[in-house]
């Protein structure tokens, strides 16, 4: 029997402006892989701030599925890329992939939206393991 899991996260688009500040170096490279950086530009070559905020929100939403509370987000190991039909797709590697295996996660789906200065993302998957937060187990 599988159990559903969801994760959600919200990122103000203004936070991306802080991360792009040349005074703090190429910090965005610590959050985004080379492939993600390539697809995080507008057609005129500028950083796609809303897209980047959505990508960061999606990474955090996926991280919430991994059951690794209290650990730093493995930003580089959770890549959010364009999937078929333009839908975002998730690719895990390294520690993030290990955490997903340990959590018994099936395929992960994400959905991203932007409005009013914020980006929001929801991640969903199912797990074959007993969900540690299941109220049924506690009640």
């Amino acid at each position: 029997m599988t159990q559903p899991l969801i994760g959600v996260d919200l990122v103000p688009i203004s936070r991306v402006g802080e991360l792009l500040d040349p005074g703090i170096g190429p910090l965005l490279r610590r959050y985004l892989s080379a492939e993600e950086l390539t697809v995080s530009r507008t057609p005129d070559g500028e950083p796609d701030r809303a897209g980047i905020a959505g990508r960061l929100a999606a990474k955090e939403a996926v991280f919430k599925l991994l059951g690794a509370v209290g650990r730093p987000v493995p930003w580089q190991g959770i890549e959010v890329l364009r999937g078929p039909g333009g839908r975002p797709g998730v690719r895990l590697s390294g520690r993030a992939a290990e955490l997903a295996r340990d959590a018994g996660l099936g395929p992960i789906d994400v959905s991203i939206s932007h409005d009013a200065g914020f980006a929001i993302a929801v991640a969903a998957a199912s797990t074959s393991l007993e969900h540690p937060n299941s109220l049924e187990q506690r009640l």
């Binding site: 991360l19 610590r30 730093p72 493995p74």
Partner: protein, 77 residues
Amino acid sequence: MSSAGIDKVRDWILGRHPERTELAADVDLIESRLVDSLAFVELVYTIEDAAGVEIDFDNIDIEDFQTLATIEKAFFA
């Protein structure tokens, strides 16, 4: 007496939270939401810059980053 390095880290955190004027060494930075998951990367960068070290993000011990006191012990002692 605190080191100049940890003072830089304290100043960076206080700079992000203008409503605060002080930050005690034993305040839990994560539990108190002074540093969220996005800002955690910036915190690591700030410590690297202040301490002149490179931190392996994949092998971080989160307890080293819990308070100013643990950061000072781990990176500026």
